[in-house]
Amino acid sequence: MSVISLVSYEDALASYDPVMGLEVHVELGTKTKMFCGCSTELGAEPNSQTCPTCLGLPGSLPVVNAIGVESAIKIGLALNCEIAEWCRFARKNYFYPDMPKNFQTSQYDEPIAFNGYLDVQLEDGSTFRVEIERAHMEEDTGKSSHIGGATGRIHGASHSLLDYNRAGIPLIEIVTKPIEGAGERAPEVAKAYVAELRELIKALDVSEARMDKGQMRCDVNLSLRPHGREKFGTRSETKNVNSLRSVERAARFEIRRHATVLDEGGTIIQETRHFHEEDGSTTAGRIKDNAEDYRYFPEPDLVPIAPARDWVEELRAGLPELPRVRRARLQGEWGLSDKDMQSVLNAGAVQPILDTIAAGTNAEQARKWWMGEVARNANETGTELSEQPITPAQVARIAALVAEGKLNDKLAKQVIAAVLAGEGEPDAVIEARGLAVVSDDSALGAAVDQAIAENGAIADKIRDGKIAAVGALVGAVMKTTRGQADAAKVKDLILAKLGVEA
């Protein structure tokens, strides 16, 4: 189906109500795999981090990684879940060459965490509660490279090569309950949920949750139903959507695609779909027919996990400040309105600001520069704030120069632009461009005298107490100094010369 023939998003939403389900897989940052002592370090030689267990050699047995369980409980607690008193691992049986045992050791009807929720904040500052069905433990598969076909795709390949270094790395799968009532904001909710979950995982320090490295992967399940109908429609499952932006785009595309099919009187096929980064579309994958039967049963090689209640409480007490709470705290500390805080969040500026404060600047200055010049550059180039070629330390240096009076705002903006343009460190830019503030009192004094002389009427007004008029004189001075003066200092000088108390 080509993109052109799709009904518009607005028309789709006018007729249908989307229902979403999000399944997120998080690779834990444990030192070893879930069921064996092999290292999980990235970048190792192929098949150098394997052992009888994670290669599925005959006779090998799994033993549970305690930190894997602990991480799962922490995630469950942070998602406001109940933690199982007793649960088991189960085998999910299906054949696939990247899975050494041809079953995945997972959890089935007894997940370690269940019935939770995550409140996510939308761009307008409102909160949407996403209900969590479950979070369970499982293991990753090996990695296959497909040889002989076009651009490493599976189709048309002559054969494949398997590296099992990743096989057995702990995964936590977090599954939402059906997300209903988001309406036109469904794609935004999906993105905000995954973003919030990522922040949460990072705050818990159980994974780096880098989507670009596959440490966090999202499946977007989506169905439409006509407004007013309770029963869910048939869903599609878009697999491995691996960036926040893609999550939103995939949901959006599927809403339009489903609506198009339904409008034409067609039926949605329950299938997996692949998301394409290039144009934001999805294409059909495997049809989920009834032949698929995973034959789950309790893993007999592992004994049940029964997390002691005092351990769970200990973990609960040890949870770090969660992102939502932290954001509220920072908003207070930085003295921001809800609207300003939301802008900071939307721009992804929290961490840059924090890092800049840590580098020695106050919150106001840090926010001012990141949300000003740097954010503008990010918008213009369509890139993330955190990806801008300027460091918090550089921003802090510029702010310090402003505070010292060596730069004024105008000059500071130029310095930032130059740093973003790759001209080097702020001090080097100032040196090279000769951007320092005119601070020589005699030169400045002459400029002030000249301005007073040329604007006698305004000077009189100021002398009469109309201090607000001083701006015009400051402007004149700045003009003669080509902006390289400290406006505050100029104002002080003018007032002093005119004998007026500021």
Binding site: P58, G59, H159, R295, Y296, F297
Partner: protein, 497 residues
């Protein structure tokens, strides 16, 4: 040399320790014996001559240096081909693993090596331990040394036959539904299925994970106990391993007395299908125990009648999943990879060619039992039966110290008789299966020959989980009394090979 191979493990170890004989001489005597008789018996799938002699040399060197030797140092052993051995072929009796050389040792293999036990080679077995006759081996059946036209039991027929044919004084088996005890019974040897979790399963190629248990086999109760002590104990690589001291089995075997013990006779293990001569020898054993001062009590375990059906759902279910890894991708056989076929097709062709009929039957049966729609009726119910059987055992053990029964309803049947009649074959494990389902400990030891066919009959002793020592106490007493009565061990009556 005949003398060396007929000695017990305990005597052999003592002779090596005292310098009367070297470990190399002992190993060589057994290797020669294998050479002489194994063409007829087919107990071994692989004889590791070099490995055995070098292990024996190491024991001799240790002794020469004055180092203390363990209680089984230098004693030869036949290892069931279900345990991995680093650098030594391991096939599990299957074509699909032909030529596979594991890159790691099973924990049990390591323990044997650490104890100075000399591993002679790997023994024949029913493919993936599925069977009661060793006829399901991809490498041909093993003969019963009492009558080579008869089965040596299974799945550990190779290990039991090696003992009975004096090819080794010690052997290792695994017992999922009786694969140590039933071969022991039909070959006139001793075998113990320890409490589930007593012996590490790491490196034991899984048939049915929740039932499989490695254990010791020998010609005497004491030798079995010595081997039990060498292989049992906690292993952090096996999550189902028991983290507790091993019961004092050697001490119990030496003590061997039953005065004051309460022994239960399971009433359900009798009746239709039980050979008259088997019941006769069993009943005599009951009388013997009474004479030795035990109190005999009849107990009823009504759920045992459901044990066989439950077993034939649970074991195939787990097996269908355990054997999925044999897919022609990472090790073992690969068939049909002509550059055009898909991985899926190559997997299916390889499994078709590499698995025998019984394995395929059980994989299909297990796949069926786990299928959605059938799970509750079959696998789910079988697990409930398991609970009921455990409750029956608990109730019985509340009143008695051990239970006894015939090990198997009949003596060794002729090779081929039940080969294509799975249900008839399955009956061989009728008395042994309940212990696997409950996870407790059980022994089979010889209690005479059935008058009608002059073939060995096994007496089964069952003890509660973690009370494996009781098996040896009772077994030691029975063995001593019977040897007294016969004037020699039963095996002496076996025809020469």
């Amino acid at each position: 040399m005949t003398e060396l191979i007929k000695r017990t493990a305990a005597d052999t170890a003592a002779a090596i320790a005292s310098g009367e004989v070297s470990a190399v001489e002992v190993a060589q005597a057994h290797l020669d014996r294998i050479d002489a008789v194994d063409k007829k018996v087919n107990a071994f799938l692989h004889v590791d001559t070099e490995g055995a002699l070098s292990a024996a040399r190491a024991v001799d060197e240790k002794r020469a240096k004055g180092e203390k030797l363990g209680p089984l140092a230098g004693v030869p052993l036949a290892l069931k081909d279900v345990f991995t051995t680093k650098g030594v072929p391991t096939t599990c009796g299957s074509k699909i693993l032909e030529g596979w050389i594991p890159p790691y040792d099973a924990t049990l293999t390591t323990r044997l090596k650490d104890a100075g036990v000399v591993i002679l080679g790997k023994t024949n077995m029913d493919e993936f331990a599925m069977g009661s006759s060793t006829e399901n081996s991809a490498y041909g059946p093993t003969g019963n040394p009492w009558d080579l036209s008869r089965i040596p039991g299974g799945s550990g027929g190779g290990s039991a036959a090696a003992l009975a044919a004096y090819q080794a004084p010690l052997a290792i088996g695994t017992d999922t539904g009786g694969s140590i005890r039933q071969p022991g019974a039909v070959t006139g040897t001793v075998g113990v299925k320890p409490t589930y979790g007593a012996v590490s399963r790491y490196g034991l190629i899984a048939f049915s994970s929740s039932l499989d248990q490695g254990g010791p086999c020998a010609r005497t109760v004491l030798d079995t106990a010595l081997l039990h002590e060498a292989i049992a104990g906690y292993d952090p690589l096996d999550s189902t391993s028991i983290n507790a001291p091993v019961p004092a089995v050697v001490e119990a075997a030496k003590r061997g007395e039953v005065r004051g013990m309460r022994i239960g006779v399971v009433k359900e293990f009798a009746g239709e299908g039980y050979q008259a001569g088997v019941m006769q020898r069993f009943n005599e054993s009951v009388e013997l125990l009474r004479e030795l001062g035990a109190e005999i009590v009849e107990v009823s375990c009504p759920s045992f009648t459901l044990a066989l059906p439950a077993y034939y759902l649970i074991a195939p279910s787990e097996a269908s999943s355990n054997l999925a890894r044999f897919d022609a991708m990472r090790y073992g056989l690969r068939v049909g990879d002509d550059g055009t076929r898909s991985a899926e097709d190559v997997t299916a062709l390889t499994r078709e060619a590499g698995f025998g009929a019984e394995v395929k039957r059980r994989i299909i049966l297990g796949t069926y039992a786990l299928s959605s729609g059938y799970y509750d009726a079959y696998y789910g119910s079988a697990q409930k039966v398991r609970t009921l059987i455990s409750r029956d055992f608990d109730a019985a053990f509340a009143g008695v110290d051990v239970l006894i029964s015939p090990t198997t309803p009949t003596t060794a049947f002729p090779i081929g008789e039940r080969a294509d009649d799975p249900m008839a074959m399955y009956l061989a494990d009728l008395c042994t299966i309940p212990s696997n389902l409950a996870g407790n400990a059980a022994m089979s030891l010889p209690c005479g020959l059935a008058p009608e066919d002059n073939l060995p009959v096994g007496l089964q002793i069952i003890a509660p989980a973690m009370a494996d020592d009781r098996l040896y106490r009772v077994g030691g007493a029975v063995e001593a009394a019977l040897n007294d009565k016969w004037g020699h061990p039963l095996l002496e009556e076996a025809p020469a090979l």
